[in-house]
Amino acid sequence: MIRYILRRLLLAVLTLFVLSVVCYGLFYAIPTDPAAVSCSKQCTPQNLAGARHKLELDIPIQCQYLRFVKGLVTERHYANMTGPKDFIGCPSVGAATPESYNCAAPCLGYSFARDTGVNDLIGPKLPVTVSLTLYAAILWILMGVGAGIVSALKPRSLMDRVVMVLALAGVSLPTFFTGLTIQKFVVDQGYWPIRPDYFSPFSQPWFFLQAMFLPAFVLAIANAAIYARLTRANMLETLNEDYIRTARAKGLRERRVVVKHALRAALTPLVTIAGLDIGALLGGAIITEKVFNIQGLGFLIVDAVNNLDFPVITAVTLLAAAFIVFLNLIVDLLYGVIDPKVRLS
């Protein structure tokens, strides 16, 4: 068990390492000078050199990468990299000056385009995306699993057919199209009491539930449809199992057979999928945030891509990957608990 967790953690670190190297490699491949993004209009050669110096872009790329990795664990200050060179040829940090930027660990870098620390940019966006994702996850699990059970209990009934047709339509509707339709024809026309926006779910829960409902709902549609189809298929399969017949034969009430015996087995595979889906969205519900103009991580990354704001792209990408890898691990460990057939080794 411990060995298993250690191996998975190692894989997680490997994934993040490869990802960060790829990000830096790509950055090196861009012909645009990131310092030029930072030093705006009156960009004299002196200003440009100053900006490059301030952003530590005048040291070799592998040194920049090492500085980044080191910044994840210790405090980093952006200062004149004029100290003596170390054994791999990277200059070390000189004395800090009043204008050098100090960045507490884990330091994710400094945004050229916005002239701010990346941590300060990501910090306020994180709760927005996390709360949106969790809100949507609750909606799609309730809708999807509920519809799937209703369908599976009376297969081939009218209800089943209606649910399955709706599910098929839901799978086939692109999120940005449903989102834009709702934004343009419901929100913009004033049919919804509050414009989609972020409110703290802790201090203003009622506002949060109202204002974030439409984005969460749009985000939930496609997954709800997929979950409905999966729940139905799994339920139908489990209801045919011998132990369900046994449960019925020994005279258990139908309700108990369905809830206690069938549902548990049918929902086990869904736990994995739910974990992965949530993990994938925590790094930014990009399309939904863009459509409804919600300032989360997804919105930030689209902005950063348009500005070639490399440190922000790297940081959000790494954060998103960390979420995915982390939830993968949790799901696998959880699976060992809820499914007695699975033994982790």
């Binding site: 790509l26 692109p174 940005f176 990408t317």
Partner: protein, 333 residues
């Protein structure tokens, strides 16, 4: 190929019955069963109809343009008012413009939609073929050879599946486009942009298929008919291509048909986010992106491409579902 099972068996003398012909007979009859099941499945046939309809439209595009006398790029100032609004009912429908025109430019909407359908289909189908192709080759290699090959491929797959995909697609596309521009290539042209899209989509697509195919190969490798072939001294190539591969066609076809609609949606989403195709190239995503700002003024211009996108994706989904049921020996319909 049209011989029935009975004739084939009669046609062989005992010493002429090697394993592969036995496998072929079984394989063929399975396909026949699947085809019959598919034909009886009304929903699946509806999906087939939808897919064929749009594929035909895309293929006949030049002809339709010729008949209607329109093309996707020509501006037509006479079909819009000075404010850019289409002249005529429901988005400017007229004898000349059968489905109306694009507001402000007056480009023919039918011509643009047909061109868009063709673009979206090409990108998604090529991406699907590349992703599934690479997935099948690596999956077979990992599952069949095992050892360090398996370890290497599986680790790469694990790492790639940990990448945030949509995020990376969005970040990567403009970087590649920028790089191409620096070589003096016009990266906004349909060909190059399409190539970039196929590249980035399939780079993140193949690991899923590797994983699935690897699992299939691992279980097939232990089956009796493979053991039998090995016992009579069949070569590795024979086992791989004549014994294992025929059994992989069913999942390969099902996965391809189910991933195409996903890629159609991805293309459209990327265009919406401003990193896919760009005007004047038409793809379903580009047309929708152009239509967003007019959605409430000229609703038909917004909903028509949306409907087309929905119907294509729906068609492929229904077809893929039907195919999966038809090819699954356990399914009861």
């Amino acid at each position: 190929m049209t011989q029935s099972v009975g004739e084939t068996e009669l046609g062989h003398t005992p010493e002429m019955v090697p394993q592969e012909s036995g496998a072929e007979i079984r394989g063929r009859s399975l396909w026949q069963i699947a085809l019959r099941r598919l034909r009886r499945d009304k929903a699946a046939m509806f999906g087939v109809g939808l897919v064929l309809f749009f594929v035909l439209l895309a293929l006949l595009r030049p002809l339709l343009d010729l008949i209607a006398g329109v093309d996707p790029f020509t501006f037509d100032a006479s079909s819009v008012t000075s404010a850019g609004l289409p002249i005529g009912p429901i988005g400017g429908i007229s004898a000349h413009h059968w489905l109306g025109v694009e507001p402000s430019t007056g480009r023919d909407l039918m011509a643009r939609l047909l061109y868009g359908v063709a673009t979206s289909l090409i990108v998604s189908v090529v991406s699907a073929i590349v992703a599934v192709g690479v997935g099948v080759v690596t999956g077979i290699a990992a599952g069949y050879f095992g050892g360090w090959v398996d370890s290497l491929i599986s680790r790469i797959v694990d790492v790639l599946l940990g990448f945030p995909q949509l995020l990376f697609l969005i970040a990567l596309t403009p970087l590649i486009a920028n790089r191409l521009n620096s070589f003096g290539i016009d990266s906004t042209s349909p060909f190059w942009r399409g190539l970039i899209l196929v590249m980035v989509i399939s780079v993140f697509g193949w690991p899923y298929f590797t994983r699935v195919i690897r699992g299939q190969v691992l279980s097939l490798r232990e089956r009796e008919f493979v053991d039998a072939a090995r016992t009579v001294g069949a070569s590795g190539g024979h086992i791989l291509f004549r014994q294992i591969l025929p059994n992989l066609w069913a999942p390969i076809i099902v996965f391809t048909s189910l991933i195409i609609p996903v890629y159609i949606t991805v293309e459209a989403s990327l265009a919406y986010l401003g990193v896919g195709f760009v005007t004047p190239t038409a793809s379903l995503g580009v047309i929708l992106q152009d239509a967003v700002s007019w959605s409430t003024v000229v609703p038909s211009y917004f909903f028509l491409p949306g409907l087309v996108l929905f119907l294509i994706v729906l068609g492929f989904n229904i077809f893929g579902d039907g195919l999966r049921d038809a090819l699954d020996p356990r399914s009861s319909h």
